[in-house]
Symmetry: C2
Subunit: 236 residues, 2 copies
DNA sequence: GTGCAAAGCTTGTATATACAAGTGTTGCGG
DNA sequence: CCGCAACACTTGTATATACAAGCTTTGCAC
């Protein structure tokens, strides 16, 4: 048997979630229902649900049932730069100002990160995040135009790219590179910041199951913004 | 039943590992052996081994057996600042220079991080990491003197604090805070770095099962050192 | 209608069993 | 001694079953 039975059930569930048939918080068939549907024992159906729960895709409650997890619950890591939430958690007001939103031709560096060819097309957005109307982060984002064809139709004054992308394609993976840099000209320009101020620059790539969704370059003045994150290694 | 049977077996195994009875790569009793020893079915013993494997504590190979995992395999995250390995991976030579190793009285900030009272004692080490004899990171570390009483007896020119602490107590959790700062005087002092150079400063807390083990403040010039890490959110 | 108990669903734990598949060892034949 | 087949042992998958524990709905008594 090339594929395991519980693997087939897992894939079935993942497909439903990806396709949007089962949105966030939707109820997933019970162990018994899946068992009957796939003609397997309850323990096998259970295993599929169990493993997806461990992976953060589903949430289970004894007595109530199994549900599609909220994206957030998948990992504390992907919240790291969900600025809107972070600012709100501090009791402050978050606002995003869309500076640019257009198509671009990608250069070598971005092509490698996006997993496409240099010179091919992509979407680009530049958004300034403000906390109580004070700028705290410049977000420069390159987006895969094949996976997210409707990106240019959005208004990122209203919804953050992160929120929008999460709703379009469930992110499955992310990688981060963090550097300390001197305030780049873009950021100095957008708010009077002195040139010799240290900044955190995070390059984040996000994947959906279909491939690289976007590459974001997030730059924050070091003395105003702090990147935190509690990283659990073991859940024992 | 206040404790589950598989939970008891998990704890039994974790205790053996913590106590050092079963070192890295040691063979763990087979499912059948555990089942007999604890008077449970094989499936129950299996579950204990299974969950510890998912948590990265054990490694299993069909046909061969179950073994205590190497610390590294627990998480790609905790490697992030295992500088020695990172430098080696680049094919360069890593060297550590022990600058300080002493007992200290902790101030308010460190007390909170270490989970002890301000004014109580702790151990402190200051180590400069060099790549091909070029300094790349200053490591300032406060260590819980109750959990690691032998810290001051080590020679950190030979073994990194991270390696030593890993061997003493298996780390279970870590949190990181990352800031961009201007090169602090300590770092400027230890090698001729200009004062207005941006640096990455990572504050890392590490836990063992008994509590907070140490707090490390890692400072690296932004243009020389890059903190990378591939963070898997879902393993589907 | 309200309150509450019972029933019925759900997930959680545990067991016994069977066979598949991979590893290591043992021992036999050459 | 070497090569290889057979065997023992290990983990992996799958099933059927039983009962415990928690949530939701139903329905009865008041």
């Amino acid at each position: 048997m090339v594929l395991t039975k519980f693997g087939i059930i897992k894939q079935f569930i993942l497909n439903k979630i990806e396709a949007g048939t089962w949105p966030q918080n939707a109820k997933v068939p019970s162990e018994n229902e899946l068992a009957e549907q796939f003609n397997v024992s309850r323990m096998t159906a259970r295993r599929a649900l169990q493993e997806l729960t461990e992976q953060g895709v589903l949430v289970r409650t004894q007595g109530a049932g199994t549900f599609v997890a909220t994206f957030k619950s998948q990992s504390s890591l992907l919240e790291i730069n969900n600025i809107a939430d972070e600012v709100s958690a501090r009791g402050h007001h978050h606002r995003a100002k869309q500076i640019k939103l257009c198509g671009v031709t990608v250069d070598d560096e971005i092509a490698i990160l996006l997993g496409c060819h240099s010179g091919s097309d992509a979407f680009y957005s530049e958004i300034l995040h403000l906390e109580n109307d004070v700028p705290i982060q410049l977000e420069q984002r390159y987006v895969n135009n094949k996976l997210v064809p409707t990106y240019l139709e959005q208004d990122f004054n209203e919804i953050t790219p992160h929120e929008f992308l999460s709703s379009v394609a469930p992110l499955t993976e992310a990688s981060h590179e963090i550097e300390a840099v001197l305030a780049p000209i873009d950021l100095c320009k957008h708010l009077d910041i002195e040139m010799h101020q240290p900044c955190l620059q995070v390059k984040r790539r996000t994947w959906a199951r279909q491939g690289v969704v976007s590459v974001a370059i997030l730059t924050s003045p070091g003395n105003r913004y702090r990147l935190g994150g509690h990283i659990k290694v073991s859940t024992a």
